[in-house]
Symmetry: D2
Subunit: 435 residues, 4 copies
């Protein structure tokens, strides 16, 4: 019995060391992502839903300060009394209120330099907390730190997608990085299908390991037989939809989708530039490397749920449910084109057989609404607002994108966005019911 305790202690220390290393690595990566920016870029907010880089850098820092340092680090000196108001995102239960989301770009102060000071102040304190917090407190710290690190990784993805959004708004179309690799123009790999039989599956994350609350509890779901496409829909296939009058024929569209494309004047995915009657060679797209010719072999990206659904209707197929997607992906490795690979753009599918590109490249819209799993209960307090309060009016996306960190992706991961939102790296794959 006695030996257990040192062993346990060792294990806890290893956890601390590992988490401390993760903390340093993830914190550093946020700043690395900002290295290509000039100071003027840090404050930009061109649309309400995409925040300024400076805000992301400060907000993820506020998270540690609020949920870890204030409650758990004795004598922690708060960096600035107003930052809890300026850099809270939406947590109502912290009681401090928050600066309006749509006005995050209207603050020149604190300066970029002051925000970096804030980060380093919190970094130092966090390392102290990880090293010194009593072992009875550590499990709670560990749990919250896990959320905090995943949270920062989510904001790293937003950093990338928001910078793309802001730069695309500028008529000069500046490049975020001029040195990104580019895939050769090619035609898409042929579309093949994998079939699954009727089956009672388990959906969601089991009790071990890190997962967000919304991935739990694991529960049983019955699937009728279905087929799923082996790779996402490509730009080339999507061009066929456009050429066939896809954006002009209401028969393909959900009612809210049709209203949206008419109100917004959409006739192609976000970041495409061309005319409805352009030939494929005429289309150009804005990327993080600047303007490029459209590559038909790449997964189509930056489209709304409405566009994904309309394409599927046009093609006589449908989107997979999240349960079908998770079943199909359940025996695949979590491999693919992630932010770690630094392409920052989806890549063409390899010309091999079988299910691929489930992870990385593009988030895949599913046909499932974002709702609680049976038995879900949001945690108490402000952290309970992290996921639960958004379980209405949004659709689930699965798999991760070229802007996601590889170690952030999970089989059970549920991303969610409103059906009209397009600025993330979002694509889709087709499915159909086997009857």
């Amino acid at each position: 019995m006695q030996q257990d305790r040192p062993a346990h202690k060792d294990h806890a220390d290893t956890d601390r060391l590992a988490m401390g290393r993760d903390f340093q690595r993830i914190r550093r990566f946020s700043e690395q992502l900002c290295e290509p920016l000039v100071i003027e870029d840090y404050g930009l907010q061109t649309v309400p839903e995409a925040s300024p880089p400076k805000w992301h850098l400060a907000h993820v820092t506020w998270f540690y300060e609020t949920f870890l340092l204030r409650p758990f680090l004795p004598d922690y000196p708060v960096f600035h009394p107003r930052f809890e108001y300026l850099f809270n995102s939406y947590y109502e239960q912290t009681g401090t209120g928050f600066w309006p989301r749509s006005e995050r770009g209207l603050l020149s102060r604190p300066t970029v330099s002051e925000v970096y000071d804030y980060r380093h102040h919190v970094d130092d304190a966090m390392e102290r907390l990880i090293a010194t917090c009593p072992s009875d407190v550590w499990p709670k710290v560990q749990m919250r730190l896990g959320i905090g690190l995943n949270h920062e990784q989510q904001h790293q993805e937003l950093l990338v997608t928001d910078i793309k959004r802001h730069f695309a708004h500028n008529p000069l179309r500046p490049a975020y990085r001029a040195d990104l690799p580019v895939a050769p123009i090619a035609s898409p790999a042929p579309l093949t299908w994998t079939q699954f039989d009727a089956e009672l599956i388990e959906l969601g994350a089991g009790p071990e390991g890190f997962a967000y609350d919304n991935e739990r509890p694991c529960h049983r779901v019955f699937l009728e037989p279905f087929s799923i496409a082996d790779r996402p829909v490509t730009n080339g296939e999507y061009l066929d939809f456009i050429a066939d009058g896809g954006y002009r024929n209401s028969a393909f569209w959900l009612s809210d989708g049709w209203a949206t494309i008419r109100r917004e004047g959409w006739s192609c995915p976000l970041y495409w530039e061309g005319q409805a009657d352009a030939t494929p060679d005429d289309w150009r797209i804005m990327t993080l490397g600047g303007m490029r010719p459209l590559n038909p072999a790449e997964p189509v990206c930056h489209l709304s749920y409405y566009e994904a659904d309309a394409f599927a209707t046009w093609a006589g197929k449908r989107l997979p449910t999240e349960a079908e997607w998770e079943r199909a992906a359940s025996d695949r490795p979590i491999a693919g084109n992630f932010v770690d690979d630094a392409w920052l753009h989806p890549r063409p599918a390899e010309k091999t057989d079988g299910l691929r590109q489930l992870f990385g490249d593009v988030w895949e819209w599913t046909g499932s609404a974002y709702l609680p799993y049976p038995g879900y209960r949001a945690p108490a307090g402000a952290l309970g607002e992290y996921n639960g309060k958004f379980m209405c009016n949004q659709m689930v996306l699965r798999g991760g994108s070229c802007a996601t960190s590889r170690d952030h992706a999970r089989l059970s991961y549920r991303n969610f966005f409103y059906p009209h939102e397009r600025w993330q790296f979002k694509g889709f794959r087709l499915a159909e019911t086997v009857q």
Copy 2:
């Protein structure tokens, strides 16, 4: 073999006779519902989502003209060439366009009298079609007529709910009918629960009998064990939620719900009049019989999905899924307080044991998003727009209300509305996962 043909013929004739009688009965009922109106009432549209009575009377008539008389009755003389534009609701594929929904109240012409003429013109032609259409055409006519009659019954419910909406907007608070019965003020029956084990059920309508396309195909769904409340939540229980600061505490609310109640300034269900700090006796509600004191024993009614969900969160419960609701209701008779009973208001639950009020009284919000069943395919053509194109952003309601026709209610019936909409007779019942 020979006997078959006359028998078949007889059977078809009986169908025709029966449907002819249904047609007359249902057509007559629309006009009966309008008898308490004065001419000025027929044109009212106080909110974009609630149409004028005159428009409902004409639109249901347009449906027969468009989908039955024009295609199937030779030499049918169209009543007025512009009515297909004025009284189409949302069918894009008819190719005629339609007068904007939000402007239906801006047309004084055609007059009420002309709309009744239109109805009678179409009635005469429909009776001719039912009596005379060739037997090879009859199955298609029969199928579309089934939709047309269900469609008119849906608009009868809307007639009732829209009239209530329009009259409640008038500061004089006029009564639609001063002679309606009123339940005595009482306290609610105690809340009891029925439990269901884990089970693989069949959800949706089978191949026989009339059902909308969205109720099919019948398919298998696995249910984890759950409990469901034996009756809907009452006004009295909802008053406790209000008194406990329900509308002031963000912790109970979905994010979109919290934004909605703050933007709209809601602090109680629609049609309640009182103050946040009123005692129960001070609350009054607008009904189709005019203003009345609030009855704590009645099912709470006219609330949004957000309010139903917030109450459930406050109560530590949740809403049932539509599969759970259908399982619970599957062995119950379709009995309850329908429009046929002419209360036009939900009634208190009887003080008996066991599951009750599943049908009639109030539509019940479920926790299920309105999405296609696996294998669903919308029919081709404009009639395919009836249900399928709304499968996004809306939530399912089940069971029917005091404004629904008894013979319109079905176990598999899927009603759907946006989560913020309140003007239907909508309530909810609680459920919970058994763990």
Copy 3:
């Protein structure tokens, strides 16, 4: 000296008799204007600025009840306690508040019949007041009655223009009266000019006779020499402006005007139907007699200040100031095409020489902002809100229109509207500075 008093008494009685006759005549005329309407028409409000006929009938009645019967007729029984809330237009100082202007069309009750009952109730009481009020009260009653009758005449003009607005919104384009006379299609009379020398004039109404407060005090204004066109600009001349790209060339437009025509998509005056590249013969216009071919000889009508100003800029001229207009009109008879003539549409100018059509046909936009005359002071109390509080952001129009009563027109009359408003019978005449 003694004889004076009976004489004075006689004079007062004559006043009472005359005003009583005016009261009856003017009240009757409001109802005559509504005779062509069906009940459904009375409640229409197709745009926020144009009220339903029923509202006009009730509001002018409320004016007498509020400002005459309640204060001056002992024991006057108010017709309905909520009507002061429902039918007040904008008088904040009555303390009762008012039903929102944009929602006047959302009230089916009181019914048309009840509104007529209200009118007759107030008519009876007014006749009693006129006949019986003590002679020391009479001057105040007489003054307010003068305002009340002019007020009702203004609303008679609005009745006509609002009915036109509402009927033009209906795609059936119903005629208000099918029996109106129509001028033959013709070409415009040639445009000639009258010149005035520099002069110090007196502007505004003198102390005698009825005038609104905003026409006083009479004061001195110095005019530099100017020329003014002998008749308003015609449809034919306006067609030349359109054909010359008038609506496509920003150089002609005020900044707010250019923004307005682009936001609203205007490419012709209100009620014109045709294409920008139509030949003159292709244009049709909506009138109170239904759709008609455009008559080039008629004064152009239903345009905004922005369009009048843009035409003048295009033509190298300008609009007259209100002082110039009043100087030019000061020795002309108040004669022209008024509502009394029952054309209800502007008529072509006679082919004679000299200044004409100053009164009637179309209100004429001037280049003067609606501001107080030097020494103006609004009366105390709610009646002081009649004119004074609108003295900002509006432009002055002069002369009266084919929808104005002849005995309502005055040389000093100042009408005023926002520069973007078009639904009145508004045209303009050109002027220029002589240098």
Copy 4:
């Protein structure tokens, strides 16, 4: 005769030298105004009407490039081909279009450093143009350069007022300059009046010297006798208006003003912070030096026309017309608290007798709409858009402010803003008609 030419040449050279010095001085001053900024401040646009400092620096530079260098300097190399699109403000007739005004803050590129490069590129070219342009071209260059320098001075004032607007939006309330002088708290000087007799005056700029087109032609205006206050209304006097319920009583307000303060929730001038029921000592105001206590002796500032008019109504007075203001100011020196004095805030009136503070401190709202003077004609081409197209819906302000350059102020200067706009240094002085 011959001697004339050298003399003439000398004179022209002197002009060139003087204008060259003015050019250098004014260009330098724009950059001096930006010295207290950090890079993050340069891109801010917190409200659509207030532009980012970076935009101002580039736009005034674009003006010289567009109207002087491109047409008149042979072989001038345009700095960047897209800058004419990015930095045009509103000139439609240049044919290049312009980046939307409300999105000027959404451009991180060009960077601040690139904008300074642009300035210096243009400065160099302008000095070359001034030195070398042929004498037959010089008069045109001289005229446009006069406009360009006045234009830059206007934007210098906007730089100051826009920076104040942006900084006040930040909840940290940063100071633009912490070293500004502050007047001691004091009570206002007594209000005295100066009377003027009826008189025919000449209004506007004569043919000599620089003036904008809208100040011409000089013309005759007759003034009825009037009195005008010797100094502007003070904070202390305005506090009395607030304390007397000024913002709660509709009787004081123009209709559009009442609607504005209710829609916007205004209960005090812009930049005041306090409660409606605060004591004078509780009020604080945001200044370019940061937050300060309110000084009752200072001219009230940053209010709308509606508030100025409401105060005047409450006080039983009115605003002066621009003709009255110009008459009153016509024999006063152009002296006062200008931007050159570097207070950047209005100062209390000196406790002396007689008319004062007509120039500097605060722009003074007049009761005159901004309209063309008789005989006004906008110049041809894009420069004709400078003033003329704004002659609708705006009100005239006179005199200049603490953010105006001393050598930019003129007796005949007509500033103009929409009645609801408050972010300039605007106050007012009272007047009344003598009867």
